[in-house]
């Protein structure tokens, strides 16, 4: 460990992305993990606290360790959990964490948000910048937690100039991770909306991990979109993956998906369908210039990474 080695507290390390971050981060920094799930193949030098973020024990961790940076990945977005559970876990947990960051003089806070907070809309500009309003919740209520966390972090950014707060908003992450977009692309036969073929941006999980780590290591602060390689029409992604598709007229698809959802036969929330209808693309010029973000994976290898995760 060099002189620049920091003690980094990472929440949600047991998620797919959390595990990747920890495996990278522990090579040059001391990592403390917090997650209420167990971590199976934990690197030996990582301390893992299997505890709920809302519990008082977290405060003890902050009190006894000199923490230099906090990386918040512990956002729960399991669409099958009740929204009250979600809300309390996500918002109350993060608010507690922010309190400790301020109280114990942590220098850096990195929060992983998502480009989905902007939401897909017919009147979106081709590329959304960081100051675009977060309208993702207008139709899709499950994203509201994440939007609220994003706003909490923004408020914290202004209230605490002594903490370098970084909010990252990556586009759809693909790789071993599980999220609605990758699960959709991994379907054996992919339903699409007849006559709609929006441009889509994907980013490789390793590129997101790199961005997270450079956010921890550098002195930057602010909000950064992460876009990955060039945009590509959804139909091209599917044909490159060799997926058969079923085009469904949109007037018919929405009620059908709603029925399936109500019968608990699908994990895709009906309002998320707008993602295969309208664009939700971001401009990441700020991340490229200030964070020196440069995706290492090109479009071909990013698309290929969709097949990494099996479910």
């Amino acid at each position: 460990m060099g002189a620049s080695a920091k003690t980094v507290l990472v929440t949600g390390i047991c998620g797919r992305l959390g595990q990747l971050v920890v495996r990278q981060l522990h090579r040059s920094h001391r990592v403390i993990g917090v997650d209420r799930r167990p971590f199976d193949r934990l690197p030996a030098d990582v301390v893992h606290h299997e505890v709920d973020l809302r519990k008082k024990k977290i405060r003890d961790v902050f009190r006894t360790e000199k923490i230099d940076a906090v990386v918040h990945l512990g956002v729960m977005h399991d669409p099958r959990k009740s929204s009250a559970d979600h809300h309390s876990w996500n918002v109350a947990g993060f608010a507690k964490l922010l309190g400790y960051v301020a109280e114990f003089g942590v220098k850096k806070l990195v929060m992983l948000s998502s480009a989905n907070v902007y939401g897909p809309h017919p009147n979106n500009p081709q590329f959304l910048t960081e100051d675009a309003p977060l309208l993702g919740g207008a139709s899709f209520s499950d994203i509201r937690d994440l939007i609220e966390l994003d706003h909490l972090a923004q408020g914290f950014f202004w209230k605490h100039p002594e903490v370098n707060t970084v909010i990252l908003r990556p586009v759809h992450i693909v790789g071993t991770v599980r999220n609605a977009a990758s699960n959709f692309l991994r379907l054996p036969v992919v339903p699409t909306l007849l006559g709609f073929d929006p441009l889509v941006q994907l980013v490789h999980e390793n590129d997101v991990v790199r961005a997270l780590i450079s956010a921890v290591e550098s002195d930057v602060r602010g909000i950064f979109n992460l876009a990955g390689p060039e945009p590509i029409p959804l139909s091209r992604i599917l044909s490159r993956l060799g997926k058969p598709t079923i085009p469904v007229p949109h007037t018919f698809a929405q009620p059908l998906l709603r029925r399936l959802w109500n019968m608990r036969l699908t994990s895709f929330p009906p309002p998320e369908m707008d993602h295969i209808r309208y664009i939700c693309m971001v401009d990441d010029a700020r991340a490229r210039s200030e964070l020196h973000f440069q995706p290492a994976h090109d479009l071909a290898s990013t698309i290929e990474a969709v097949n990494w995760g099996r479910w």
Partner: protein, 328 residues
């Protein structure tokens, strides 16, 4: 009674196995196989058709069309499209359709195209003719006669994005939703933009107001000043007569969710659904430069807009005075 067995995959969509009901089963796997088998075959057929269409296209339009197509400066990503979704493979057919209309149906006559700059440019034109064929014809003129050939981007209505096929078609043709952010981004990467400041008010005017410009929006002027872009006034003479509108039904239009519903008598005559084969006369004026504060008072901007508007109105008058007939 477990006659319909639903296996819910952990994070995926459903897989229905009716195996308990039918001995051999009619599971989704069969469907999957059919879909898997069908998709490549459909693609093969399409590819074969594409080859034939391309040879036909070359024989109709001649070598120069292909040559112009290859000379367009596009910034394609690894996805095969540019940042705004323009796909040359599909745009080719759009340009072909526009070129046929341009040469054989509306027999467009163009002057002053040498005025168009090679870099960033805002083409400001009068809008007329009930449906925006004028946009396609101006685009075709710049593609077929301009040097170098360019793709001009028109700013399209936001609600078109909610329509199936239409939204995809516009995107693959390189047309862009009319938002200041999009316009700025395009101009800053030295693209050419076509804007109709009259908007719907211009395209839907009734025949008694033909060739009288409707009210101009101010957005284009703000954009031109902000991005330091030359404005090229464009006049289109002929389009007003393609569909003669004698009035409109605002109440019915509102009920149907349309921006406007014109009354066009020719639609009720067999064959009148096609636009009348008028002759288009498109004139490009000399570039105009404006400076100042883009966030200036509306009154200040209005004065500058008025300069552009009078230039276009003058070009329209000249064009009308010169033309001998509507159809020839």
């Amino acid at each position: 009674m477990n006659w319909l067995c639903l296996t819910v995959r952990r994070h995926g969509l459903i897989r229905i196995g009716v195996s308990d009901l039918l001995p051999s089963g009619l599971p989704l796997e069969t469907f999957e196989d059919v879909a898997r088998g069908l998709t490549p075959r459909v693609r093969e057929t399409l590819d074969a058709m594409e080859g034939r269409i391309d040879t036909f296209l070359a024989s109709v339009m001649g070598e120069s069309f292909e040559d112009r197509l290859s000379r367009i400066d596009l910034h394609l990503g690894a996805g095969g499209v540019d940042d705004f979704g323009l796909d040359p493979k599909w745009a080719k057919y759009g340009f072909f359709g526009a070129a046929v209309l341009y040469r054989h149906y509306f027999r467009c006559e163009v002057q002053g195209l040498e005025n168009a700059p090679a870099g960033r440019a805002l083409f400001i034109a009068n809008h007329s003719g009930q449906i925006p064929i004028d946009a396609a014809m101006i685009g075709a003129a710049i593609f077929l006669e301009g040097d170098p050939p360019r793709v001009v981007r028109s700013m399209i209505e936001k609600w078109t994005q909610t329509l199936p096929f239409v939204s995809t078609f516009f995107s693959r043709m390189g047309q862009v939703v009319g938002l200041p952010e999009n316009a700025k981004r395009l101009l800053e990467s030295e693209e050419a933009l076509l804007v109709f400041p009259e908007g719907v008010g211009g395209v839907s005017k009734t025949y008694d107001r033909a060739y009288q410009l409707a009210e101009f929006g101010l957005g284009f002027m703000r954009l031109a000043i902000e991005t330091n872009t030359p404005i090229i006034p464009v006049s289109v003479v002929g389009a007003e007569e393609q569909y003669i509108s004698i009035g409109s039904l605002p109440g019915v239009a509102k009920m149907l969710g349309l921006p406007v519903l014109p009354i066009i008598p020719q639609l009720f005559v067999p064959g009148g659904q096609l636009p009348l084969p008028v002759k288009y006369r498109i004139a490009f004026g000399t570039p105009m430069f404006f400076d100042g504060d883009p966030d200036d008072d509306d009154a200040v901007l209005e004065e500058k807009v008025w300069v552009v508007k009078t230039a276009i109105q003058q070009m329209l008058h000249d064009g009308l005075a010169k033309r001998k007939g509507i159809f020839f």
